[in-house]
Symmetry: D2
C-alpha cells in the first residue's frame, strides 16, 4: 500500500503563511461577504499585539485506513498570548456552549483567573500527548524559572472522518515544532495545524481567524479570534443572514459524515478586562456561531477561551496595580467578539480546500463562486 | 393634571386574547417572514399541554411623570407549567446570557432541579411585591397542603422609559389577578402583562410567544417559548437574516432610549428531559436572541428558564420512576428552542403597537408594511 | 387573646448594642472556647472599615398562631459595605453550599463583579417587601443620582417555627429603619434583626459575627463575617472539635422542629481581591459551617456573599486603576474566612436566649455552663 | 549511582491487597479514632457493587534527582464504576473546592451527566499519557463497539517533592496495567498507585478509602469514597476534632515541603441519584476535607467526582426508564459523603509509611502510637 511508504509532511506555519495568506488566496470578505465591524490590520488574532500562532500540519498517505499507519490528516496549533518567549501570564476565562469536548487546564483558569501558557488545539485523541509535551517544552524553555507544576490548556476537535485518529500520529516533536514555529503576523487558515482534518457545516473546515479594531472613542482596543471549526450540519449553514446551506445542498461529504463536530474559539484582546469580564466575552462567541447556524449539537464540543494581554505582570508575588475597563464600556468588545467569531468561521471555510482522507472519504471546499452567487441572490453581495 | 384622575385599567388576558390574538391581528409569519421549523397548533407556549398564561395589564394616565401617580405602563404575567390548579412540580433549569437582571428563586431551581410554582414576569422594581404575593396566593390556594416555605420565581425587565417604574404600581391584587386569569389557549402578545411598557430593538416590544412541534420520528415533542422582550439596539436588528434595523432606521423612540434592556425567556417542553438537560435547552435561547441581533449588552438582563411537563409526580417522597430522553436525541429540542425564541421575539414586535408613556416618551410599533418590504428587498419574503 | 393587642416592638440596633454587646454578655471566646486566629478589635464584621450594620427586630404577641396577627418573632438586618451614606460599589461574589433559599440580586453580582448596595437579611416570606423597599430607600437617599434601576441583594432564612411567617409582618417602614439604623461599631447578636426567630443546631440561633486580623507580614488585612444562623441538627453540633450536640442532647425545641434550616454568611474584607478571588473566599464559608457540623441539608439555604471594600471607585465610567492581591497570598484570607464563620455561628448561639413563639413552640438558648463543661470534658477549655 | 540501575518495580494491586489490606495493617478506626456513621463491609469504595480499583505503583532509585532517571515515586490508579468489562455509563457530576489541578473529561461529564469510562488518578505531569492510553485501552477492549471518540477522566496531584515528576515515568504500559489490574474487593491504601509519592498535612499520604452503609429505613444505600490525598499544612491537621497537627508538630518533611498540594476525591454510590443530585453529593466532599483541617489552599487542586451505579442502561438510544431518589431523602447521602471523605483521608495517612525520595527528601508516616495518644489526651479515643 502506498500509504505505508508515505512520509509525514510537516508543513510549518511560515511556509503556509507565505503561500496561503500572502494575499494570493481570497478570504471571506474578499468574496464580497458583508460582515459588520472594522477588522484590524491583518484581520487575524495576531492583530492583538503579542499574540503568536504556530501550526504543525501532518498530511500523509491515502486510501484504506490502517490504524497507526494512516492516512494522516491532522496536526496541532499553538497560540501564545504574549509570544513564545514570555512566561508572563494573562487574565483569562472560558465558557462552554456544548461540552462534548475537552479543554484541559480550564479548572485552574477558572479558579485563578490566569492562563499561564499557550492555548493548544489538536485532534480529540491527541490531547494527552500535546499536554505533556507542552510541559516538557516549558521546562526546557524556562529552565530554572520553570515553576514546579504546569496545567497546560489543550483543546480538540474530532478529525476521524478524514484522519486515522486512533493512530495517534501527533508526537511530542510535532508539538515542539508548533510551539517553536509560533509567530506574529499572518496566520495560515483552512486545513492547517489542528484544523487539518476538520469539517464545518459539512464543507471542509479547519483554522480561521478574524479581528475587530474599535474606534478611538471606544478605546481603540483590538479583539482577535481564532477558531478550529469542525461543527454543524449543512442545512443550518447561514452566512451573513443568507441560507447558504440550502443554496448549496450538494457537495456533501462522501462516505458519510454526520453533522456532529465541535468548535474551539480563542478570543484575544488588549482591552484591560478582568477574568470575570473575560468570561462574559468568551460567552459571546456562542452568538457568532449561532449566526452561522450552529446550535451546539449534542455531539459538539463548543468550548471557548478568552484572554487579555493588558495588565502585564498581573501575576506578581506582591500586590499589583491593574487597570480595568468599566462594565459600562464593554459592549463594543461583545459586538467585536460576535462579529470576529462569525467571520473567522467563514474564513476557515473559504480557505479550506477539498480533501480526501481515510477510506476514500472526501470533504468538499465550499465553492467560492457559488457562495458569491448565494450572496447575490439575497442581495447581500458587497461589491 | 388628567393623569391624577385616571383610573388604572386592568385588562385581563381573556379580553386581550379575544381582541388581539383571535386572528384579527397578524403575527410575524402572517407577514411572510420565513422561520424554520414547524409550529404547534397555536404557535404559542400553551401548545405544551398544561401550560397556562395569565396577564394583568396596567395602563393609565399620560403626560408628565409624577412618581406614584403615573403614567402607568406596566403589568405582570404568570406562566404555570401544569396549570394554576396543580401544585405538582416540574423539572427545570436556568441560564443567563447577561445577568443585569433578576430572576428570583433560581438558586433553588439550580439546586433541586425543580420549579415549584409559576414563573412570573413584571417590571424591575415590582419583583418584590410579586414574589411575596405569589406566596400569599399559594397559601390560600393550597391551604393545608401548602409547604412551610416558598421561593417563587419572579423575573423582570425594565419599563422605566414609558412607565412610572418608581411609582410601584403593581400591587398584590394585580398579581392575584394574573395568577387567577391564567388559561390555556391563545396567549395575548405585545404590550400586555409584564410586557406592557417594554421596548425591543428600539421598537415597541413586550410579550411574544411561539412553539415548535417535532416530527413523530423525533418524538412528537412540543417546545413552547414565551418572551418578555425589552432589549437591543436598532442597528443590530436582524430578522430572518435581513438587516431590518438598517432598513428602518427612522421611527426611533422619542425623548431618548438607550439600546439597553433585557429579555426573559421561558421555555416549556413536554419532552422527558432532566434538569441538566433543561439547562442545555435554556442555554440555546441565547442563540435565538443572537439571530435577531442581540449580543447581551452590559445593561441587559437576559435570563432564561426552561421546564419540562413530562414526569408528573417526580417530586414525590419515595423513590420515583422517570423517563429520560437520551442526549443523542436532544438536538431537535435545541433547534426548536432557537427557532421558537427567535420567532417569539419577532411576534412580540409585530403585535406591539406604538405607545406613549411618561413625559411624552414614545416608542413606535414596527410598521408591518416596511417589515415586509425589507423581507422582499432581500428575497426573503415568503408569500 | 393578648396577642391581638400586643404592640409590635421595634428594637433598634443602638439599644441592643448597648445592652447586649457592651461586654455585659459573654461571647463564645469569653466562655473559653478555643478558636484559631486573631480577631479584630470588636471581633465583628464592622472591624472591616466602612461596614455598617443595622437591625430591626420585631417581637410581639404570644400563644396561638393567627396568621397576620402573630406571634411575631422576626426582623430585618442591613449590612452596608461602605456605610449607608455611600453609593460606591464594592467588588463581590457569591457561593451556594445548598440552595434551598433565596438571595436576590446575585445574578448581577455574578455578572458584574459588583455589589451595588446593602446586603439585607430577613425571613423567607419577607424577601419581596424588603427588596422593593430597598429600592425606595435608595431612590430617596440618592435622589437624582439614583440610577434607573436597582437589583437589591436580599437573603433569608425561615423563622416559621417561632414566627407567624405567613403574616408578612415585615413592612417597608421596618426596612427603612434597619437601613437608617446601620452603624459601625458593636453589632448586636443573637435574636435580633433578621435573626430574631432563628434556630441553629436546634438551639436558639440568629445573628452572629466575628473577624480575623492578619499579621502585618500577611498584609494586615481584616476579614469580617456576619451570619444569620438557622440550620442544622443537634446531633451533628461540633464546637472546636468537641461533640457538643451529643453532650447536650436534651433541651430540644418544644413542639417539633426539624433539623432543616439555612444560613446566610456575609464575608467582608479590606484586602484588594477581585471578584473571582471573592468567589473563592465565599466558598470557604462552607468549611466553617462544616466544622460546626453542618452538612448543607436538602432543606437548607446555605448562601454566602463576599465583598471587598478595597478599590473604592472601581465602578467608574472610564478605565480605572485597581490593586490586586496575588493568588499566592490569598491563603490567610481563606483561613480567616473559615475561622470567622465558625466563630460567628457559635457567637450567634451563645448570644441567643431561650425564646417562645407561635403555638407555644420554644427553643432553648445553649446553656453556657454546659457548653463550658463539654469543652472541659474534651480538654479543649481555654482558661 | 545506584538509581540508574534500579529497576522500576511495578506492584500490582493484588499483591498489595494481600499484604496491606488483609487485616495485617491497622486502619484508622482500628487505632480507636472515632468516626461517625456505619461503614460497609470493607470500608472501601468497592463496597459499592461494581466498583473496581487497580493500581500501578512505580518505585525505583534513590538519591540525587536526575530528570528522566529518577528517583521514581509515582504511579497510576484506575477506578471503574461498573467494572472494567462494562462500557455502560454512569450518571456523574463534579465539583471543585480549589482548582489548582486537572481533571480532564469534566466538561463532558458536566454537559452530559454521564461518566463514560474509568476515573484515573496519577501525578500532575503524567495526565496526558494516561489520558491517551485510556483511549487506546478502550479501543482494544471494546473493539468495534468503541465509539468514535473518547474523553477520558484523568485527575492528578503533584508528587514532585519525592518523585522525579519531570522525568515522565508513567508510560502507557503502566496505565494498561492499572486498568487491567482493577478488581473488586480490598483496596490497597497509602503509597500505592497514583498516591505513591503523595504528602498530606506534611505526613506521608496517598490513596485512602472508606464507605458508609445507610440503614434500611434510609434505603440501605452505600456511599464509597476513594481519595488521593496530597494537601494541607501540619498545623491545620485535625482528626476527629483533635488538633493532631499541634500535638505532633515534629516529624516534618525533610528538605522542604510547602503545605500546598491537592486532593482528588471519588465518590461512588448505588443510590439512584441524578446528575444534578450527584453534584450536590460531590460538593459535600469539601466538608470532609474541612473537618481534617483542609481549607483548599491556593496551590491545591481539590477536585471531586461523584457517580451513581444505579440506573444501568441510562445512556440508551431511546427513551429510558429511570428511578430517582427524592431530594427530601438525600441528607443521609450527604452525611455519608462527609464522613467517608474524612475517614478516607485519615486512612491514607495511617496506611502510608515513611518514604524517602529525590535528593534525600523524606516524608514521615504518621506515628500510630502518637496519633492514639493525641486521641486519648482529648478524650476521643474509642477503645
Amino acid at each position: 500500500m502506498k500509504m505505508h511508504r508515505s512520509i509525514v509532511v510537516v508543513v510549518s506555519v511560515l511556509v503556509l503563511a507565505a503561500t496561503l495568506n500572502g494575499q494570493t488566496k481570497p478570504r471571506a470578505r474578499d468574496l464580497g461577504i458583508p460582515f459588520d465591524g472594522t477588522p484590524g490590520l491583518r484581520n487575524a488574532i495576531t492583530d492583538v499585539a503579542g499574540v503568536e500562532v504556530g501550526h504543525t500540519t501532518l498530511v500523509s498517505g491515502s486510501g484504506k485506513l490502517v490504524a497507526g499507519k494512516g492516512p494522516v490528516r491532522t496536526g496541532v496549533t499553538a497560540i501564545f498570548p504574549r509570544g513564545k518567549e514570555s512566561a508572563d501570564q494573562v487574565f483569562a476565562a472560558w465558557f462552554t456552549l456544548n461540552g462534548n469536548g475537552e479543554m484541559t487546564g480550564t479548572t485552574w483558569v477558572e479558579e485563578s483567573g490566569f492562563l499561564e501558557g499557550p492555548v493548544m488545539i489538536t485532534n480529540t485523541h491527541s490531547v494527552g500527548v500535546v499536554r505533556d509535551a507542552v510541559i516538557e517544552w516549558q521546562m526546557k524553555k524556562q529552565g530554572k524559572t520553570f515553576q514546579p507544576w504546569s496545567l497546560p490548556v489543550v483543546a480538540e476537535t474530532w478529525d476521524g472522518f478524514l484522519n486515522d485518529i486512533n493512530g495517534f500520529h501527533v508526537k511530542r516533536e510535532h508539538v515542539f515544532q508548533a510551539l517553536d514555529a509560533a509567530r506574529a503576523g499572518a496566520v495560515a487558515e483552512g486545513s492547517v495545524g489542528g484544523g487539518t482534518g476538520m469539517v464545518v457545516h459539512q464543507f471542509k473546515g479547519g483554522i480561521g481567524t478574524s479581528s475587530r479594531k474599535l474606534e478611538n472613542r471606544l478605546g481603540a482596543y483590538t479583539v482577535g479570534v481564532l477558531v478550529q471549526a469542525n461543527y454543524g450540519g449543512r442545512s443550518q449553514l447561514t452566512i451573513a443572514g443568507v441560507p447558504v446551506g440550502r443554496e448549496i445542498s450538494d457537495l456533501m461529504p462522501e462516505r458519510g459524515k454526520s453533522d456532529d463536530g465541535s468548535i474551539i474559539v480563542v478570543v484575544a484582546t488588549d482591552a484591560p478586562v478582568l477574568p470575570h469580564q473575560l468570561k462574559r466575552i468568551a460567552k459571546r462567541a456562542a452568538l457568532g456561531i449561532g449566526k452561522n447556524g450552529g446550535i451546539g449539537t449534542n455531539g459538539s464540543g463548543d468550548i471557548f477561551i478568552a484572554f487579555s494581554t493588558a495588565n502585564p505582570g498581573a501575576a506578581g508575588d506582591s500586590v499589583v496595580s491593574l487597570t480595568m475597563l468599566p462594565n459600562d464600556r464593554i459592549n463594543p468588545l461583545f459586538a467585536a467578539t460576535v462579529q470576529a467569531t462569525e467571520e473567522a468561521i467563514v474564513n476557515a471555510m473559504v480557505a479550506a480546500q477539498t480533501m480526501e482522507g481515510v477510506n476514500g472519504s472526501k470533504v468538499y471546499g465550499i465553492p467560492h463562486d457559488r457562495l458569491k452567487a448565494a450572496m447575490k441572490k439575497y442581495n447581500r453581495l458587497k461589491e
